[in-house]
Symmetry: none
Subunit: 319 residues, 2 copies
DNA sequence: CCAACCTGTGAGTATTTGCCCATCCTCGTA
DNA sequence: TACGAGGATGGGCAAATACTCACAGGTTGG
């Protein structure tokens, strides 16, 4: 008499045969049913079994395949709502190559929507590069709001504030923030934020449907420092306090917690919009930014990420 | 054979994405269409493209009892070092279905080795189909050497000479044989073989660690004849002399002995490498090739075989 | 011995996929 | 600028596939 195991092994054999006929030989299930002398439904079950039992392996031989794979893992590892991985070009030192195009594509996906949306934009080199990749289009029904001030320390318009570029290219209504990135004191910040126009912009930012931000590192070449928004002493103090990165000027430590005190008391940027009710996408890559990106993901300061293969690997490598 | 259309890299990227989403992530084409922002029909086209371009590879990972059994019996009956049996699809007239994938898998096993190897390759339709299934990989440390000439009777590159395809896909160093498959005379062959470069290639072939060859039949549609390497008269003469098959152009009789005289005096291919010190794998199946395969196994012209169920049965049935 | 249970089956039905065709867009040419 | 070839697109439809359900045959445990 046949034991259950033998029967099941036989069944797996049949499943393997059916799977082979289906996937490798390209038969239809009807043909398989005829060949194996069973009903089409049974054939379907066998084919299905061959997949669910892992008898059939499918592999994608294309550079993109690796990106998709990394993306899926990142998405589940950090419970992200959006992940986009672009192939790395190890030869190119550019911090924006590929990323800019991918970021622009994602921004355009939102702009193409017919229903009016509020799109919040941070600042930084990566974001600027992405905006430059945007296809000009007519989107007067959307609103684009800046999360950060657009006044550089010397009083001029901050170079890497990109809100005007966006509004220009896509013809949407724009809401810049006529503020310094970092106020001179907490009091000044409060004063500025209480101005009616700015208050409205802040409220608009809080209701953004989608947000795109860059991630800044706080190493020796921290963009905040290089662009003169913070002094060397302030940078050192932040580093000492454990800061590993910043979003729109908000410095945070390796846990993703905002650093208390220091420059954070004076950052005039809008708070990062809710990750519960909206999508906040970080666009960033690179060794230097890795700790910052990881921290932001861990504490869910963002729930979307556009990065490259190498960075994705780095994010998955640890822990 | 369909002419190779130049397809933009971007489209292949998209195809890869779609293929990944479909086969790996298990999305429906509707979902893919939504995610990529295209119509379902376009998604379907991309998925289909990813298969037809060979981006998606499917492999059956299960020892089907019947194939294992046949394989074990063949292995012991003919003292083989390697046997691989794939399921048969009795209805399909294709001479390569399934076999190509299995052959590619075995070739890949060798290519994946870290130590440098010399891999010799014969010629033929089956082998070409197998090569097309190879996954691109970087193997500059291996050497791939052709056993047969790559010049067709009309002077062009022989279509079924596959050495270039291999080298291309796996980036290894390749050693083709700039020779006709069959020289016009024994003298010409000697002359050609004495050329330094060719001599070196021949010596390399003799030292191959592993060899993959097809088996040609010598019936009315013998590939050697169909491809114009031998005349009808020569084919008839070979048949009369008892030839039942050929490896790389070397015709042999039912005992597996090389036919003396006739075209064998002029075959410009390298001799089949040693079965004592290396692995020589025949990849072949089909009723027509049965006598040839049997003869080659009997006299141990090869010590490895990749074939299908039906052929395996045929080999075991007689004697 | 019987009832509960499990496995596998076929029928019917909803969903998904493959393919044809009209149309649109692009680009080279007259 | 007009025009035609060639390729991409999306609608529609038939084929193929996946899923649900009720039931048959056999096993298990009382």
């Amino acid at each position: 008499m046949a034991t259950r195991q033998e029967i099941s092994a036989n069944r797996l054999d049949d499943a393997a045969r059916a799977g082979w006929l289906y996937y490798v030989a390209g038969n239809t299930q009807d043909q398989i049913a005829a060949k194996l002398g069973i009903s089409r439904q049974s054939a379907q079950r066998l084919v299905s079994l061959s997949v669910s039992e892992g008898l059939i392996k499918m592999r994608l031989d294309h550079p993109i395949g690796r990106c998709m794979d990394l993306g899926a893992r990142l998405k589940s590892r950090f419970s992200l709502d959006l992940v986009e991985i672009v192939p790395s070009d190890p030869e190119s030192p550019s911090t924006t190559i590929g990323l800019a195009e991918a970021g622009a594509a994602e921004i355009e996906r939102w702009l193409k929507l017919d229903e009016p949306r509020i799109i919040a934009i941070g600042t930084g080199r990566t974001l600027k590069a992405a905006i430059e990749q945007l296809t000009p289009m007519e989107c007067p029904h959307h609103k684009v709001v800046s999360l950060t001030g657009n006044i550089a320390p010397d009083g001029s318009a901050a170079f890497y504030n990109v809100i005007f570029n966006v509004a220009d290219v896509v013809k949407s209504r724009s809401f810049p923030m006529p503020l310094p990135v970092i106020a001179s004191s907490a009091q000044e910040r409060e004063m500025l934020h209480s101005q009616p126009m700015i208050r409205e912009t802040l409220e608009l930012a809080a209701r953004a449907d989608v947000t795109f931000v860059g991630v800044g590192d706080l190493g020796p070449q921290a963009p905040l420092y290089e662009d003169g928004f913070i002094t060397e002493a302030e940078l050192k103090a932040l580093q000492k306090a454990g800061a590993v990165g910043e979003l729109c000027g908000w410095a945070f430590n390796a846990d993703g917690r905002l650093i208390e005190g220091f420059t954070n008391d004076r950052v005039a940027s809008a708070p990062i919009p809710s990750r519960e009710t909206s999508l906040v996408v970080a666009i960033a890559k690179g060794e230097k930014k890795l700790p910052g990106i990881r921290a932001a993901l861990n504490r869910r300061l963002v729930n979307g990420l556009i990065t490259d293969e190498l960075t994705a690997e780095g994010l998955l490598a640890t822990e």
